[in-house]
Symmetry: C2
Subunit: 345 residues, 2 copies
């Protein structure tokens, strides 16, 4: 039962070798692997011994080839360094685990070319399905892939058509509750910080902000736009400086940031410039990433059910591969406001 490990490895052992070593047929080895109950305990033991002896490792390629599909899900994330997406991925993992599937993560890092490359490879791998937060939710490629037979679920974006399942969060509502809260805290001149001209999500959040103002009888001029190019900490810092530069008469007393990173940047500028939060400036972020609560002044933020989002997306995907007749579903979650020190005077 001892094994030599010296010398050039002869060649990885396959089921055929196992069968030979155990003195049974190939089919029996397969049965041990796939339907152990169909095999007598004695033979099973023999086969298992042989497998151990030969260090047998199942060849998934061959399996897949035969079976036609794999036991792998993939999530193509928009930004692997954004904690939001890693949390979403964690939710997917939960669901994948239950279905005895592997989840592979791919990071497109906002680059369409990278996204495309990953999608191509995943399709070639015949993964069971693709979860994706796409750079462009309406890219035709996604539809093509779905039409060619690999289920695609769009995560945290809502594509135009109804060609995929999708899960998203109601961003208009999120913007609304954020700003409603600020109004309730007595603010009536509120900065909106983000790139709403570029990104659909951000546009929605701003839309919600306007709706909250309107509901309070305040016109759109009560929202002061500080437009950024992206949603990074640096953008937040920059916006903070611009905000601090405004004459006191028209300077907002509160800021609604399109994203927690921006809010953290803003918070940092406030610390630098000795503006007190929330006394001089109340801040609401968006996403409620772990670092929002961990900030020096814990940040009020709009929380999206991230893990839930991921889990649901994965479940929709599994449903699509299981169900005989599948109707694409668009699930929309409702975000919730988490109030912390940054808005409580």
């Amino acid at each position: 039962m001892t094994v030599q490990q010296s010398g050039a490895e002869p060649r990885a052992a396959g089921m055929k070798d196992v069968a030979a070593a155990a003195g049974v047929s190939l089919g029996t080895v397969s049965n041990v692997l796939n339907r152990p109950d169909r095999v007598s305990p004695a033979t099973r033991a023999k086969v298992e011994a042989a497998m151990a002896e030969l260090r047998f490792v199942r060849n998934e390629s061959a399996r897949q080839l035969r079976a036609g599909r794999s036991r792998v899900l993939a999530y193509v994330m928009l930004d692997g360094s954004n904690p939001f997406f890693t949390d979403v991925a964690a939710g997917m993992e939960d669901a994948a685990d239950e279905g005895d599937l592997s989840l592979f993560l791919c990071n497109s890092a906002h680059q369409p070319s990278r996204e495309e490359a990953y999608l191509g490879r995943l399709e070639q791998q015949r993964v069971q399905g693709i979860l994706i937060t796409p750079v462009d939710p309406d890219a035709p490629l996604l539809r093509e892939i779905a039409r060619r037979g690999t289920p695609v679920v769009v995560v945290d974006r809502t594509p135009d058509g109804t060609e995929h399942c999708s899960v998203a969060v109601d961003d208009v509502y999120g913007g609304e509750i954020a700003v409603r809260h600020l109004i309730e805290q007595g603010h009536d001149r509120i900065a909106f910080i983000g790139n709403h001209t570029t990104v659909g999500q951000v546009r929605d959040r701003r839309q919600g902000a306007l709706r909250a103002l309107q509901a309070a009888g305040l016109g759109p001029d009560h929202l002061v736009d500080l437009t950024t190019t992206a949603l990074t900490v640096a953008d937040g810092r920059g916006a903070g400086e611009r905000l601090a530069g405004l004459p006191a008469a028209i300077r907002p007393t509160a800021a609604f940031c399109a994203n927690d990173l921006v809010a953290l940047g803003l918070l940092q500028t406030c610390a630098t410039l000795r503006m007190r939060v929330p006394e001089d400036l109340a801040i609401v972020g968006y996403d409620d990433i772990e670092f929002a609560a961990a900030a020096a002044v814990p940040l009020t933020s709009v929380r999206q059910p991230r893990r839930r989002l991921g889990r649901t997306a994965a479940e929709l995907l599994l449903a699509e591969t299981t169900e005989t007749s599948h109707e694409h579903r668009q699930v929309v979650f409702t975000p919730e406001l988490v109030v912390r020190t940054s808005t409580l005077r």
Copy 2:
């Protein structure tokens, strides 16, 4: 050239179908795919047209089966929600891209069972190699996998033996420069916050801290241990409260945190308790994650060349699969101190 999309999909088209449609042999289709220069432009065009027409998608399983190995690298990360690891992964992606390989990310989330499951699946997939930051760098499983033929590179840990390539950062040195800096700033009573009893890395950092003290002629009693269970923001908060509770006479004036998350937690407690940073307490973190610079008081931190780490790891892996005779290499990077406001009085 138009295509019907209605009806039950007949069955994905394979190279055989393409060959038939183009009126050439199977081998020619393969040549178009793999050695286009061996095929006359005319036939190539015909074949490519047929591929487009039939929406042909290469079957990677079959390819792999034939080729014996895949075009995929995998990184099994210890903690997908820790920005440190996602940055490392980004570096790997750079290297993988250049080698025209895909990088799949797996998140073990500190769970040995999950790690094991992923490793098993990856081995079965016959991935080209496995990059891993293991829960336990000395787990025998890693060695077995390597012996069975899948190269393994250990990232950010240094395994006992020399059975794998590995890349790591000199944690002793990192601890040393952190504390040396604090000493230079005039501190001589320094808190060490972390779980050095559990985690090797943290032990090393503490080791370095002691070395710096010694070099300055200060005994180990000048290091005040505040031991945590893990390295989260919450742990940092807790340690901060304990620290604040110490009598002023023995309370450290500076803290070296095993990790930026802990430092952020500590910073938060300081804000809550109105302790000024750095005046009342200087803070050094470790890792220099993005949020370290983004904190209200920008955090001095020990930066590891994360991206570089990942890139090098991937390159070692590729070298191992390429080289005829391979010698395992242990690469150790040197960290660097990034000084920011949190230690500058």
